[in-house]
């Protein structure tokens, strides 16, 4: 019997702190927050049950709706932008280029920096009076217009640019690792058949990278939902609500606007979003993994 052979008393004791963390922090506080979203809590938690009133209020609050729209725009462009650029960079580096490690170091270094630093660099670069726009005008192109960061319709795209600059390198290293795992025989066979290189990447390499791309996409998608400090540092959510995001909306309502119930409702919606996004991906990977092991 394994339990007597392994005598797990010390092991149980060693895991005790983690049990406490899981029970109290991960499960306990979540239940606390979710139940708070059904109350009329403002500055202090209240036990006055109001049903779904906070959710109804949430989805009629323009700032929250703007935050959700921005999150969809930002999330779609950021994840797809990082995946496409990261894949192209990996494919280019996979072509046996000179100075490969120099290029790799350059493409990944922004990932080592914080979102605050990333946001502040790009805030400065995109400064309409002293940044890129001013410099291009000074070079003689007087009508050059690149003031996206103060333009309500374009500001969210500046967050996308900064995000891709920071995150594309992650996709590159993960995809490159996957590409290096593809056998030389497959390459030889495809080249002997006269298939053009781009076609090999599209039809032979890409399908084999599904696991790396899914893993990278998951990390990026989780990052989208967490996006807070990048926006705080770069635009503060403005101009207007142009770069407001859900995580920031929740933080503001928790700690500045004293709107605990509303913030808790927003946080619950975020958790549900994660479940809706993650569970199908996990399930798909699990099913495929099971099929593969059944086939072997």
């Amino acid at each position: 019997m394994p339990s007597t052979r392994r005598r797990p008393i010390a092991a149980t004791a060693a895991l005790a702190p983690t049990w406490v963390v899981v029970a109290v922090v991960y499960v306990g506080t979540m239940i606390w927050s979710i139940s708070m979203s059904f109350t009329d809590s403002t500055l202090f938690p209240s036990s006055n049950y109001v049903g779904f009133a906070q959710y109804a209020k949430l989805f009629t609050t323009p700032k929250w709706l703007a935050a959700l729209r921005n999150e969809v725009v930002f999330g779609t462009l950021y994840v797809s932008g990082c995946l496409v650029l990261g894949f192209l960079l990996a494919a280019a580096l996979d072509r046996r280029v000179r100075f490969e490690s120099v290029f790799r170091t350059i493409f990944l270094y922004p990932y080592a920096m914080s979102f605050v630093v990333t946001g502040l660099i790009w805030q400065w670069m995109l400064n309409p009076t002293l940044g890129i726009q001013a410099n291009v005008r000074a070079l003689g192109w007087d009508g050059f217009l690149f003031n996206w960061i103060v333009d309500r319709d374009m500001a969210i795209y500046t967050i996308v640019i900064a995000g891709i600059w920071q995150g594309a390198g992650l996709v590159m290293v993960m995809v490159l690792a996957g590409m290096r795992g593809i056998s030389a025989e497959q390459w030889k066979a495809a080249l002997i058949d006269g298939i053009p290189v781009w076609r090999i990447y599209a039809s032979i390499v890409l399908p084999q990278l599904r696991a790396s791309l899914t893993a990278a996409g998951m990390i990026l998608a989780m990052g989208v939902i967490k996006t807070y400090d990048l926006v705080v540092a770069m635009t503060g959510g403005g101009p207007g609500n142009a770069t407001e995001v859900p995580a920031k909306f929740i933080m503001d309502n928790l700690f500045q606007r004293q709107n605990l119930g509303l913030a808790a409702a927003g946080a619950t919606v975020l958790v549900l979003t994660v479940i809706v996004v993650v569970v199908p991906i996990r399930y798909a990977l699990h099913v495929r993994g099971a099929r593969r092991s059944a086939a072997q």
Partner: protein
């Protein structure tokens, strides 16, 4: 684009495809490097130079006094102490957080892979699920609990929070690592009469040094770069560099000292960048190891 032979010589022929390939790589490299260049040159320019609006121009001279100001004199509101204070707070937050989370994660991974006491699967499952949940749902109740225990607004409080939220990933890293260690090693140690703790400290921890390094680098950059937890839990006296930097840049009254701001930004990025450049492959294994079998 003619030969792809992993062991052969580099293709010497210059084709249009090769030129396009390098043009693409160089163009993207430029996009990645320009912000770093702009940061550096802005930090050593004088304000009158900056007002000319030539962000890409080389500086007329090297004015390093901005760095001095950023380090020890830049203002957050009325308080002019520079990022120096934040630097030391970051050190005081990061070092214990990294040490504790890596040690606890290693212990978890070891217990969950070799010993598997009752409930292990459940614990691991909930921990992994917890690692995916957005932090906003935990924050307010955690603030209240910290306040009750007197940890709110202290370095210890932030360290505890960092350890708690670092656990899922570090545990996963070590569990996967120990799953790859042959069970014979564990059994041999058991036959020799070693118990749970002795096997951990004398056998398993020493052989997992590579993972300790990877996890430490990963945790160090993550915690050094953290903004959210420190903002909420550290209290105004213990703000780390990231929060302080954001306050310096975004709450200035009057004209912004862009040169000082950029110097402060570089200073804040310096530690994780140094780790990245020095540790190279270790950094890369840190960010990819957690993802491979998440």
């Amino acid at each position: 684009m003619t030969t792809v032979n992993p062991n052969g010589p580099r293709p010497a022929r210059i084709t249009a495809g090769r030129v396009g390939l390098y043009a693409f790589l160089l163009a993207v490299a430029l996009f990645f490097l320009v912000p770093l260049y702009v940061m550096l040159v802005t930090s050593v320019k004088t304000m009158s130079e900056i007002r000319q609006g030539q962000i890409f121009a080389l500086p007329a001279g090297l004015d390093w006094s901005t760095w001095q100001t950023a380090w020890s004199g830049a203002c957050m509101g009325l308080q002019c102490v520079g990022v120096r204070v934040g630097f030391w707070n970051s050190v005081r937050i990061t070092l214990p957080s990294v040490a504790l989370s890596v040690l606890l994660g290693a212990l978890n991974g070891y217990a969950l892979s070799f010993w598997r006491p009752k409930g292990s699967t459940l614990l691991f499952g909930v921990l992994m699920a917890g690692g995916l949940i957005p932090y906003q749902i935990f924050l307010y109740p955690l603030v209240r609990m910290m306040a009750v225990t007197g940890l709110y607004g202290s370095i210890t409080g932030v360290v505890v929070v960092h350890v708690i939220f670092g656990l899922p990933l570090v545990t996963l890293l070590f569990r996967n690592y120990f799953m790859g260690v042959p069970d014979e090693l564990y059994r041999a140690a058991r036959v020799d009469g070693a118990g749970f703790w002795r096997i951990f400290f004398e056998v398993m921890l020493p052989i997992s040094i590579p993972m300790v390094v990877v996890a430490s680098i990963f945790q160090f950059t993550g915690i050094w770069n953290d903004f959210l937890f420190s903002l909420v839990f550290a209290g105004t006296d213990n703000l780390p560099m990231t929060v302080q930097l954001n306050n310096i840049v975004n709450t200035t009254m009057g004209e912004r000292a862009y040169n000082v701001n950029m110097a402060a930004t570089i200073l804040t990025a310096l530690v994780p960048l140094a780790i990245y450049f020095l540790s190279g492959r270790w950094f890369v294994s840190g960010i990819t190891a957690g993802a491979v079998k998440g």
